[in-house]
């Protein structure tokens, strides 16, 4: 982009200055490349180059401690899609992602609307809903493992009202239709992990929605009230449509978090009995670094990458276009 010269300063007397400036600009132009070059090279190698290398490993025979990079074709991928554990992972990821996003959206929008009612102590409430985001997923996992322990925790209350849940130790899959090697349906144990994850991440959607609500000018609400609209109508007809684009952002950010989730589940439940809480992130880690099945692990990681890219690439391209 050519530097924009302010019109008032572009008078004839400054021709010499302008020539000097142009030369200077050229030098600076090259310097600006030099500034970002290290980062560009680093990302090119460590992100794109390494992804390509992982892709290559996923097509190789390297399934032992000794690297064997001979070409194996799609063998590892075919193995995974026939593998009980990986099939369970796909099922768990599907339902985890679905429930996690719904919980974060619902709770986030509700809390943001509550907080937007000019209430007293707003910043205190806001901080209570936000602080879990400053915690590590490992800490969250450790705490909720204790809270949702089938023998203790919230079950002490639930038992009093006649409910009793095994939480993350349950192996029940509802409805459990036989599909390939696994029972397809919602694994009850996943619900426990969803609660912990939503507890931690709701603050993100509250912050996003609240920022969106605050950006709506008060005049719009006033005008609607003048026209006789009730508060519920104002939200339903005017405000919710205006914050809809935020929902898209929240869904994409949450989807990419949930598709690559590892630490929360590793710390809280692990793979679980019958792999009811296993996810690709955990499988990849265990099979690669505990089992030395490097090619299988690489194949899992490439599938994870592709699943994230489906959401992220269109998002990045559209926000790129929206800017220019």
């Amino acid at each position: 982009m050519e530097p924009k010269v302010l019109p008032s300063l572009q008078s004839g007397s400054s021709l010499a200055v302008s020539a000097k400036k142009r030369r200077k600009w050229n030098v600076d132009h090259w310097l600006s490349f030099a500034f970002i070059l290290p980062s560009v090279i680093a990302v090119a190698v460590f992100v794109y180059g390494f992804i390509a290398w992982s892709g290559y490993v996923s097509l190789s025979n390297w399934n032992s401690l000794v690297p064997d990079l001979s070409f194996a074709g799609l063998k590892n991928y075919l193995f995974l899609f026939k593998d009980f554990r990986f099939q369970a992972d796909l099922r768990n990821t599907l339902f985890f992602t679905l429930f996690f996003i719904l919980a974060v959206l619902f709770m986030g929008l509700m809390l943001a609307v509550f907080l937007d009612q000019k209430i007293r102590g707003e910043s205190l409430f806001r901080n209570i809903f936000f602080f879990p985001m400053a915690l590590s997923f490992v800490v969250t996992g450790v705490i909720w493992q204790w809270l949702l322990n089938p023998a203790t925790g919230v079950n002490l209350f639930l038992k009093k009202i006649g409910l009793d849940s095994l939480w993350y130790t349950s192996v029940t899959v509802i409805p459990g239709i036989q599909w390939s090697k696994i029972q397809f349906g919602v694994p009850v144990a996943v619900i426990a992990v969803v609660i912990a994850a939503a507890w931690q991440m709701t603050g993100f959607s509250v912050a996003m929605y609240l920022a969106g609500l605050r950006a709506i000018p008060e005049e719009i609400r006033e005008a609607a009230r003048m026209d006789g609209a009730g508060e519920f109508q104002i939200y339903r007809k005017i405000i919710f449509p205006m914050v809809a684009p935020i929902t898209v952002s929240v869904v994409i950010i949450m989807a990419h978090i949930s598709l690559k989730i590892f630490d929360l589940i590793y710390a809280m439940t692990g793979p679980g009995a019958n792999f009811v809480t296993d996810v690709p992130g955990v499988y990849m880690f265990e099979t690669t670094f505990r089992g030395n099945y490097y090619a299988n692990g690489a194949a899992i990681s490439i599938i994870m990458l592709l699943s994230v890219a489906i959401f992220i690439v269109p998002y990045l391209i559209s926000s790129r276009k929206g800017e220019s």
């Binding site: 982009m1 302010l6 300063l9 200055v17 000097k20 400036k21 200077k24 600009w25 600076d28 310097l31 500034f35 970002i36 980062s39 990302v43 460590f46 992100v47 794109y48 180059g49 390494f50 290398w53 490993v57 809390l111 509550f114 209430i119 409430f125 901080n127 209570i128 809903f129 936000f130 602080f131 400053a134 915690l135 590590s136 997923f137 490992v138 800490v139 450790v142 204790w146 809270l147 203790t152 925790g153 507890w199 912050a207 996003m208 952002s249 950010i253 690559k260 590892f262 630490d263 590793y266 992130g281 880690f285 690489a298 990681s301 994870m304 990458l305 994230v308 990045l316 926000s319 790129r320």
Partner: protein, 273 residues
């Protein structure tokens, strides 16, 4: 007016109930960590401890202190370096745009969304070759490199709010790329550095995947050590909760004192700034 009072009351009651739900884990963590092991019975889980017992903190501290220090040695240089790099990149990509610079920016951004599993196997091979495997400097390097996208994004969005006219008039006065950075950008970047610094500090402190795959035993950061606490045969819940609190304390304190900037970073990180 009566309807309004009722609905306000319901609103506050709902907010208080939800707040209690969000605070419940902290309550349980605190009371459990303050109990001796023999009081961690099922029936007493929700009750306050009979007397304060700090022995679990002592035990957790003994076990976690070296790893806590590892995390400190990791997080401070990694945060500073990645903030500096992000500032330079953000400056060029917002104020010295060239043909294709926006596409370079988008290509960089992709790096912050990838599952790190997809670069982990080559990364570990690389770190072994470079002699950085199982070292804190190795982890610092990793966090700086993979922090480039997010820090660049935050600074680029931040610098977009610095008026173009300021840069232009400095150019007319003969200032070059360095001078403008030094005299205009840096002094206006204080908030940017605080936001990015807090963001990177929190993320690197809390990070687990790189930590658990790149380091072993004595080099491990705090989160891996915390996870290992629960791996032992008999789970001592009081020690584990005390450990969780110790591990969470630095980021919690940062949140309590600088929460405003943390939330700014959160919103800046969602691409559309």
């Amino acid at each position: 007016m009566a309807i309004r009072t009722v609905s306000r009351t319901v609103l506050y009651l709902l907010l208080i109930a939800l707040s209690l739900f969000y605070l419940m884990p902290v309550y349980v963590m605190l009371i459990t960590s303050l109990k001796p092991l023999d009081q961690i019975s099922l029936s007493e889980m929700w009750q306050l401890p009979h007397s304060l017992d700090l022995s679990s903190y002592q035990l957790a501290f003994e076990k976690l202190a070296p790893n806590f220090m590892n995390s400190i040695y990791l997080v401070i240089p990694a945060t500073l370096l990645s903030a500096l790099l992000g500032s330079l990149n953000g400056y060029v990509l917002s104020k010295w745009k060239f043909r294709g610079s926006d596409w370079i920016f988008t290509a960089l951004l992709f790096g912050m969304f990838i599952p790190y599993q997809s670069i982990l196997i080559p990364l570990i091979q690389f770190l072994r070759e470079a002699g950085l495997y199982n070292t804190i400097p190795g982890l610092i390097f990793v966090h700086v490199v993979y922090g480039i996208p997010i820090t660049t994004l935050m600074f680029r969005n931040f610098y977009a709010s610095i008026p173009e006219e300021m840069i232009e008039s400095a150019k007319i006065d003969g200032a070059g790329i360095f001078k403008i950075y030094q005299h205009i950008i840096i002094p206006l970047s204080i908030t940017g550095f605080v936001v990015v610094g807090i963001w990177q500090f929190t993320n690197i402190w809390n990070e687990f995947l790189f930590a658990v795959t790149i380091t072993t035993s004595s080099q491990q950061p705090i989160m891996v050590a915390l996870q290992n606490l629960s791996g032992s045969q008999i789970v001592q819940w009081n020690v584990q909760m005390a450990g969780a609190l110790l591990a969470a304390l630095p980021t919690l304190l940062v949140y309590i004192f600088l929460g405003k900037f943390f939330v700014k970073g959160l919103l800046a990180g969602s691409v559309k700034g």
